[in-house]
Symmetry: C4
Subunit: 318 residues, 4 copies
């Protein structure tokens, strides 16, 4: 086994050395968390002054490790069947979202050596390392699938929201611009109030004062409840149908495996594999299997015994 395959096993948690792989991944995760915490704490003036040196050392240490990780991952990408062999596979990997996130985690550091970048912006960019965590959280997968499936509908909800914000701000601008020029003196200014109201956040720093403004406000707050309901409804529907789809996919797989009537140990392993891939919990899977078994029995029962019309022999059709 080559060194590259061993490294691949370490990063992708495959192969014989699963324990070391888990350790490597846990340490990488901890490093990301420590980085995020450091950026947060460094923003406190007092800590920044006192522990300046330590923060700098942590930064150099982290960037070194993250750079090594980045290079190693680019090196082993060719072993991942998802990207393909050779330099082509490597280029494909380097342009993948996860690799770009990894690059973003180290690039600002190297750029700041050559260009003068505002430290405030540098700090926010450093925080983007938090996205490196997504690789280590399998839990986020279902959430991501649902959001991707519903992306088109969610975008249309946002489009409706933008249209409502524009019309609301134009309305309040027409009504209240004379009374509260600071808050509603122009449509862009009025947009602050319109957004804060339509999202039902309602800071209360700007509030309509005239009768007309309040009447419009009443309409907009009620629309705001409806607006807040749209994404909730879309996401609820997305989760419901995603779960249904996964249960059905499991059912189809189970029916294929159990068609021959016997449950071999291979079938059992295949079913567990399917359950894990689809992220179903045990109760869900068991109920699907019970239903499949029941239906199989129901359809097989009447066909059980066939009588040959010529010789009258009774035998099993299956």
């Amino acid at each position: 086994m080559t060194l590259r395959l061993r490294v691949y096993g370490l990063f992708e948690m495959q192969g014989p050395n699963l324990r070391a792989a888990r350790l490597v991944n846990t340490l990488l995760m901890l490093l990301i968390l420590v980085n995020v915490l450091a950026v947060i704490l460094e923003s406190v003036e007092a800590y920044h002054r006192q522990y300046r040196e330590w923060f700098w050392q942590l930064e150099v240490f982290s960037v070194t490790l993250f750079t090594i990780e980045y290079l190693l991952r680019a090196w082993i990408a060719v072993d991942n069947p998802a990207y393909g062999r050779g330099w082509r596979g490597r280029v494909r990997y380097v342009l993948s979202p996860m690799a770009l996130i990894d690059l973003l985690a180290i690039l600002p550091f190297f750029l700041s050596m050559f260009f003068a970048i505002d430290t405030r912006i540098l700090r926010v960019l450093r925080l983007l390392r938090v996205f490196k965590l997504t690789r280590h959280f399998a839990v986020l997968e279902v959430l991501g699938t649902v959001l991707r499936n519903e992306a088109r509908t969610l975008i249309s909800a946002i489009a409706v929201m933008i249209i409502l914000v524009i019309l609301s701000s134009a309305g309040i601008y027409a009504i209240e611009r004379a009374d509260q020029p600071d808050a509603f003196g122009s449509i862009p200014r009025a947009m602050w109030w319109a957004t804060v109201t339509l999202t039902t956040v309602g800071y209360g720093d700007v509030v309509p004062q005239t009768l007309g403004g309040r009447l419009l406000g009443v309409v907009i707050t009620v629309l705001g409840v409806g607006m807040a309901a749209l994404p909730a409804g879309i996401i609820a529907s997305g989760f419901t149908s995603e779960l249904a789809r996964r249960r059905e996919a499991y059912e189809i797989r189970a029916k294929q495996l159990l068609r021959d009537g016997e449950i071999t140990s291979l079938d059992r392993r295949e079913l567990i594999k399917a359950r894990n891939e689809l992220g179903l919990d045990r109760t869900d899977a068991q109920q699907v299997l019970r239903r499949v078994a029941m239906e199989a029995e129901a359809t097989s029962e009447p066909d059980a015994v066939v009588v040959c019309p010529r010789c009258g022999m009774r035998f099993d059709a299956h």
Copy 2:
């Protein structure tokens, strides 16, 4: 091919000249966006003073184009089977919602030439051009269908909300009118607080101060959470059942097409057409097809030819 049919193809994105049609539609969409942006920016006093002339020229240019678009669409309406031939079809088109939106986009301009209209109101009316966008966004279709399907239930939720607002304002008026006459001196005044609270916006500009008022406030804020839950629940249910309905419609179509057991290239095209019309994504459609195929197999299997193990006669088990 007549000129009218060619124009029809351009606007409705049909016929051979699909490229030109796409260009025309994109330009119209851009013109609407530029118009909306212009109205927003013109409301800023500084821009208004400096670029007055430019805004006016854009307005004249836009109204000219929108008027031509309006007349052309009325002219070609007879080629659209949805409205029917002759002047009757044209009248039917002119009274359709989309045509009225188009009219509303240009009418204020012409009216303002003959009547003195407040510029503030003119501006808001000009913003209504944003609705012309709905023609160009197919994504909004599912959202629209769901809202239309659930309209009756959503209206009943709004009716419940209005009743709750009335009772809440009467309650707080009875309790706090002496303590805060400005905010709760009459039921209509108290409605501002009641709406802002029931929608969970909660500006905080008006807040009950007495013990009784706060007790009522606690009840109303909790009811507010319930009120906000109603539309979310209704819309979630609407999306779920609309998706289920579309998947089932696709399944019914697939079963009809695959009844004869063979999948011809015509079937394939019909399935893709059905999938697009129903707005299903590829994963959804594939799973439906897999299930249909499996069920077809399940029912066809027992009808397969059975061979009698004794006499070797081949016959149908059914």
Copy 3:
């Protein structure tokens, strides 16, 4: 036909005189709306002083009509099979929720003649007439069914909310009572902030100031999002399953009617009746029917031709 049956037809919209019945019901509905509007307007001091006499006359007029309505409804209750014949049926009707709402609409007026009741309380009680509207809005039926079905779960959500409010107020009381004695000086006082925060209303009149208070505040606002999600989720699930239940009930009815294979005009009428009773829209109903028809075809097809094992005659089993 007796007079009582005629009156029954008028109120319950049955029998031959449907037009007059609709008129009576519309007028009663308008009278309720006028009453609600009057109470709202009378609370404005200026209107109250100027139109005192008119408001009083409207009140006397309305109470007279509502009293006649109440007595008539009690009189005809025996014709309603839901309550049963004789004085028993009348007593059962008088104790039904709708009758109690009707009584509540007139009782305060008569009580105020004998006892001195605070006019503020009288006014709120008069507003309860708005509940008389529920009789005239069939749309509220589905909403009511869902809320009734989910009542147990919604109550458990409210119980969780109360427990969270108690624990949150105790927590903030322990942390901030010294810093803000006015807002957090005792647990009951702290409950105002806890409720306003957990419901995500967030007035901002009371806000934790210390680090500990804000940390608790962060936890509570996040819990508040979860709390607001509970009723939304419960109601969404309620609507989804109620719709599914109604579609299935329609499917069962359709299967029963179409079992014999023919669709008679009687079947058609029965299906329309079932659709109206279940409040399904046309699209829903059509899809259910299409599926039923398809399944009927699928099951009948293989059984179509049976071969007699003795004489070999081929015939239809059905």
Copy 4:
């Protein structure tokens, strides 16, 4: 019957003395409620001073009873098949969540005799007795099941929220730290505003003032609506699928019981038992049964005896 079994029957509402058991449980529930109320009232300075003695006596009385309850429950745990016999069963019970809650209700009292504990913390700890109520509310079971099923997804939603809070605070810190050092002077400080905004609570005590800050604020409030939608969607989907799972489990049970074609009184009792265990309401259960009956009929029908129209032979069509 031993004394221990009798006590077991009293606490677990089993055995012959159901009435006494209900009384014991109701009294225990009342004692918990009185305790919670007492802690809330004692936090009011005036009541605390006046009724100090009474509160102390109630505390001693309650702790005595709760201690007896705790010891009795540990004693009878061996009769509960869930924990197993002997001291092992007892240890297993003592470490169960419900037993720990019971311990937490009395431990602070005894600890405060030996150690000096801040009375404020003692009070909050005493409030935790409210969790003892969960044993007495069966309604909370479905809610608990749904939350447990969806725990992984809910946690991933919280993880997304934490990431968004961190990025939002870093963003507003970068933009507004110079303008509002008190509110946005460091990332930890800015987190207060970020959390309050992303949860759509929106106190309004801290609000961005600059153009950049407001632009970021607009994005964050919109994201906040999405964040609030996530748990609502997850919980809605959880309730929907939990109900579907329970209805299906009931259907599977019903099919098993009704397979033989006859409904015996034993079947009936089993069905009622299954319905209660699954927490289905009567309407749900009836519809499931009606469907099962219909399907049973549909599959049995073709197997009915067919009579050949020519030779009159009676035979099974299958």
